[in-house]
Symmetry: C2
Subunit: 110 residues, 2 copies
């Protein structure tokens, strides 16, 4: 996902983070295309603040998206195109995954 392969420039906390950790199944079966499309679509949602995404050679991936409010997270989860992707993810792309919704309280950098 080249479109998310850098540090997100988020505002000062507080804001929200959705930590999505997943283990891919083998083979692409439309996954890369969907992943890029979901980042593109997420960027268009109200309250979207940024996204960071990495997948390792062993298939483990972590995508953290940042949001201005809980309402923005709920709206994104209910987005129709995103729901289709969630369905395919459960059925085919992910051997396992866990979503954690968190409130970012502080940050510090280099």
């Amino acid at each position: 996902m080249t479109s998310a392969s850098s540090l997100a420039e988020t505002p000062s906390p507080p804001y929200y983070a959705v930590i999505f950790t997943s283990q891919r199944t083998e083979g692409d079966r439309g996954y890369e295309h969907m992943a890029d499309r979901m980042v593109e679509l997420a960027r268009q949602q109200p309250g979207f603040l940024g996204v960071e995404s990495v997948r390792g050679a062993d298939g483990l991936g972590i995508t953290v998206s940042y949001w201005a409010s809980k309402e923005a997270i709920v709206a994104w989860k209910r987005n129709a195109e995103h729901q289709t992707a969630q369905c395919a993810g459960q059925r085919s792309w992910y051997a396992d995954y866990l979503v954690r919704v968190a409130s970012v309280e502080r940050d510090y950098g280099k």
Copy 2:
């Protein structure tokens, strides 16, 4: 970091997450050894709940560690061996990084 390359089995929320996003410089210079040692050391800290860590081919990495309390996070940040690693990270291993401390409010999986 093979010692952290799977989904963390965290308890039911609430708990805390430290989201560490970083961009590696080129070359190892002791990094892999330190990264493995830090995961090993973190696992021994009071309040440690789990860790997930991925680094992509382009050098972007996300490590999320999970903790029972804010106090546990502060204690881990102040750990002497960890502080030495933080120093070397700032100086040599990371072109850029951002740490976000967050309170996990809910989770759901496959």
